[in-house]
Amino acid sequence: MSHASSVAPNATRTAPAIEPPRQYPDKPADVFLFGTCVLDLFFPDAGMDAIRLLEREGIRVHFPQAQSCCGQPAYTSGYTDEARVVARAQLALFAGDWPVVVPSGSCAGMFRHHYFELFKDEPQTLKQVESLAARTFELAEFLLNVCRVQLHDSGAPVKVALHTSCSARREMNTHVHGRALLGQLAAVERVDHDHESECCGFGGAFSVRMPDISGAMVKDKTAALKGSGAAEVVSADCGCLLNINGCFEKQGERLRGEHLASFLLRRTGGHKGD
C-alpha cells in the first residue's frame, strides 16, 4: 500500500561520500586536460574556462590534440572491444607524470575505475592504467584538493542548485567537491533540490534506447530544480547538462544549467586574486 512522502526528502536521500579519502599531491607546474567528447562539441567554452581556472593557479595546461573519447559510450553499451581500442589510444596520449584533469566526473571515473576492467587481461597495459588512474582528477577535486584554491566571490547574491552526475558522484565524490567550491563563494547560497541524488535520466545511450523512461526522469529532475527556488543551476557533467538543458528548452523554460568551471570563473572575475 502506498504511503505519504516524508517531509524532508533530502535529509535522507543525499548521497554520502563513497570514495575512500585520497592522497593529494602538491600543486604541479604542468597538467594535461582531457576535454571529453561531449564537452568538445557541445560545451567547448566550459573547457576553455577550465583551462583559464588552471592557468590562473599558475599551471601550464597541455591539451593533446589527438585526444577523443574515454570509451565510456561503447563500454556501457556492451561493445567492450571497441571501447578498449579507443581507451588504448587515450592511455598512450596521457603517459608521463603530469596529472590529468577532467572537467567531467563520469569520464574521470572511467579513467580511474573502469580501465582496470577493460585491460584486466593485459598486465603490461595495467601498469599504464594504474599510473593514469592515480593521476586522474575531476576538475573540482583538483581545484579544491590539489590547487587548494581560495575563491573570492565578486558576484551578486544568488541561489544556486548543484546537480552532480550519479556515476560521477559515486565514483569520484563530485558532490562533495562541488559543494565545497560553491561554499567558498560568499554571495552564493546553495539550495538543495528534491531527490537531489537521483539520476537526471541521461545515462548516455539509455536516453536514446529508453526515451520514455529517460524523459520521465529528466522531467522530474527539471521540475525539482525549478522547485528548489534556485536562480541558477550548476553541474560539472556535460552529459547531464545536455539532457537537463534540452528539457528546459523544450519546456520553454528560461533556466539553463551552466558548467561549474564557467560559473566559478564568472563569479571570481576571471583573474587570480580578484
Binding site: S5, A74, S77, E249
Partner: protein, 479 residues
C-alpha cells in the same frame, strides 16, 4: 538449467509496458510515495555510514564464502535436513519443481493449499499449475492476498501490493469480499485476517519460501511480519518449503549479519515481528507442527550464473528489494512493467538466467547506470557492472558466441556493430575526428531539430561554433 526449445523466444514487451505505466499518474504517485517512504526507513536504520560499509563488506564475504562451496553446502544441507526428518527434493526446472509439489499434493489427496509468501513459488507459477489440477491455492500474506484477489502478480518482491493505495484496496475488498467500503487501514487488515484465518485450519498443505537454509544444522529460516508464515508452516499437516539453491548458508553464525542486513534494508526494521526457524516435522512429544516437511531446491537457471565468476555475484542476493526502492527506473514504472517475477535492478540481472537473454533483451539496457542499486545492496552485488556484462553478452557477434549463456547474442545487430566500429575509427584517428568535429560545428545549423525519441522530451543538442580542440589549439598551440 532450462531445457532449450526450438520455439523462438518472444521478448517481453518491456518498452510498451513502461510507456503505459508512465502514463498512469495514480501508479506514478503510488510508487514515488512508497519508495520515498522505504528509502527513508532504511536510511534511519543505518545512521552510521562507516558501520554500514563494514556490515555490507561482511555480508558480501559471508555470501561469497557460501557460494564458493555451494555444491558441498547443498549436500550438507540435504544430509542434515534429512537427518532432521525433512524430505529434500531437487528440481532443475520450474516444471520439475511443480511436478514434485503436485506429487506430494496427490499423495495426501490434498484439495486446499495455504501459502506464506514465496517468490520462488511465483517463479514456478505454482498457483496456476496446481489450480489447473483442481487444487485451490490461497495466498495468506496480506499483500499477496490482495494481488491474488485482483488476479495480478506481485509488483515488488517484499511488498507485493505496493502499487495500490488504500482506496484501491478498499474498493477491492468491498467488491470481492462483500464488506462495507472502508478506508480504515486497521479495519481492512482485520477484514483480510478474518477471511484468511479459517483457511489455515482448512488447508491440507502449507507452502512457504525460505530466507536462509542453514547447512550445518539443517534449519530453514523464514522472516515475516504477519504471522501468516508461522501459521502456514505449522498448522496444516504438511509443509512444503520451496527455495532457490543459492539460499544456503554455512552455519547459524552466518545468518546473524545477513538477517540484520535483510530486515534493515528491506523494510527498515531492526528485526521482523516473526523469525521462524524450522528444523523438521513434529516430534513425538510435541503438541504442534506439521507431520511432514518437504524442501524443494530449485535451480531454474541459477547454475548458469554460478558457472561464471563475475555473474555468480548475482546469487549473493538475499531478496531485500532495496535496489528496487532506490531505482529511479523502478520508481517510475513499477514492478509489473518488467513482465518478470523479479522486477527492478535485481530482476534485470537474475531473470536473463531464468528466461534467457533473448526473452529479456530489453531489461539490461533499461538502466541509466546511475549506480543507486549497487550503492544500497546489502551484500554488495555490483549490479551496474553485471548489467554491463549482460549487455556485452546480448550484443556479442554470432561468430564470437561461446554458447554458455541462454539467449547470448540475441540483441546483436550488424547495423549497430558497424556503427560502433565507425565510432571506434573516428575516435582513434585524429584526422578523421578533426574533420568530423569541423563538419559538426560548422554545419550545426543544418542539424535536424527532430532527432527521433530524444527530442520528444528535449530540444536537439546543438554543437558549438568551434570545438574545444580548435579553441585549445588557438590558446595553447599544437600539443
Amino acid at each position: 538449467m532450462n531445457a532449450m526449445t526450438d520455439v523462438p523466444a518472444v521478448p517481453i514487451a518491456f518498452k510498451r509496458n513502461a510507456r503505459e505505466a508512465l502514463a498512469d499518474p495514480q501508479l506514478r504517485r503510488n510508487f514515488r510515495g512508497a519508495m520515498d517512504f522505504l528509502m527513508d526507513k532504511r536510511r534511519v536504520q543505518f545512521p552510521d555510514g562507516d558501520e554500514l560499509e563494514r556490515l555490507r563488506a561482511f555480508g558480501n564475504r559471508v555470501r561469497a564464502r557460501a557460494l564458493s562451496k555451494l555444491p558441498e553446502l547443498l549436500e550438507r544441507l540435504d544430509a542434515n535436513l534429512s537427518r532432521n526428518g525433512v524430505k529434500v527434493h531437487w528440481a532443475e526446472t520450474v516444471e520439475e519443481a511443480n511436478a514434485i509439489v503436485h506429487r506430494i499434493v496427490e499423495q495426501h489427496a490434498a484439495k486446499k493449499v495455504i501459502k506464506g509468501k514465496s517468490m520462488v513459488s511465483e517463479e514456478m507459477e505454482m498457483n496456476h499449475y496446481l489450480g489447473e489440477r483442481g487444487v485451490d491455492c490461497l495466498e495468506s500474506d496480506m499483500g499477496e492476498f490482495i494481488v491474488q484477489l485482483r488476479e495480478e502478480k506481485p509488483s515488488h518482491i517484499i511488498m507485493p501490493a505496493i502499487h495500490l493505495n488504500v482506496g484501491q484496496v478498499a474498493s477491492l475488498f468491498h467488491d470481492k469480499l462483500e464488506v462495507d467500503y472502508t478506508e480504515d487501514v486497521d479495519r481492512l487488515i482485520q477484514i483480510g485476517r478474518e477471511t484468511l484465518r479459517r483457511n489455515f485450519f482448512e488447508a491440507d498443505i502449507g507452502v512457504s519460501g525460505v530466507n536462509f537454509a542453514v547447512a550445518e544444522t539443517g534449519t530453514l529460516l523464514l522472516v515475516e511480519n504477519e504471522g501468516n508464515g508461522r501459521m502456514s508452516t505449522t498448522v496444516p499437516p504438511v509443509h512444503i518449503a520451496v527455495t532457490g539453491i543459492e539460499k544456503v548458508v554455512e552455519n547459524l553464525r552466518d545468518v546473524i549479519p545477513l538477517l540484520s542486513l535483510l530486515t534493515r534494508s528491506a523494510t527498515g526494521q531492526a528485526i521482523t515481528t516473526y523469525v521462524n526457524m524450522i528444523s523438521g516435522p513434529r516430534k513425538a512429544d510435541e503438541l504442534d507442527g506439521p507431520q511432514e516437511v518437504h524442501l524443494v531446491l530449485l535451480d531454474n537457471g541459477r547454475s548458469q550464473a554460478f558457472a561464471d565468476g563475475e555473474l555468480r555475484q548475482t546469487l549473493n542476493c538475499i531478496r531485500c528489494g532495496a535496489c528496487m526502492n532506490h531505482c529511479p527506473v523502478y520508481t517510475r514504472i513499477g514492478g509489473h512493467a518488467y513482465g518478470t517475477v523479479y522486477p527492478g535492478p535485481i530482476g534485470k540481472i537474475v531473470t536473463p538466467h531464468m528466461l534467457g537473454l533473448d526473452t529479456t533483451r530489453d531489461l539490461p539496457t533499461a538502466s541509466s547506470m546511475c549506480g543507486a542499486c549497487g550503492e544500497v545492496c546489502p551484500v554488495k552485488i555490483p549490479i551496474p557492472a553485471l548489467l554491463r556484462r549482460l549487455r556485452e553478452e546480448a550484443v556479442r557477434a554470432p561468430e564470437a558466441v561461446p554458447h554458455h549463456m541462454r539467449g547470448q547474442g540475441s540483441k546483436y545487430s550488424k547495423k549497430e556493430a558497424m556503427l560502433w566500429k565507425a565510432w571506434r575509427k573516428l575516435n582513434t584517428s585524429p584526422a578523421l575526428y578533426r574533420a568530423f568535429s569541423f563538419a559538426g560545428t560548422r554545419l550545426s545549423a543544418l542539424m535536424p531539430s527532430n532527432i527521433g525519441p530524444w527530442t520528444e522530451h528535449r530540444s536537439a543538442p546543438k554543437p558549438a561554433a568551434r570545438s574545444l580542440h580548435e579553441l585549445a589549439r588557438e590558446h595553447l598551440g599544437e600539443d
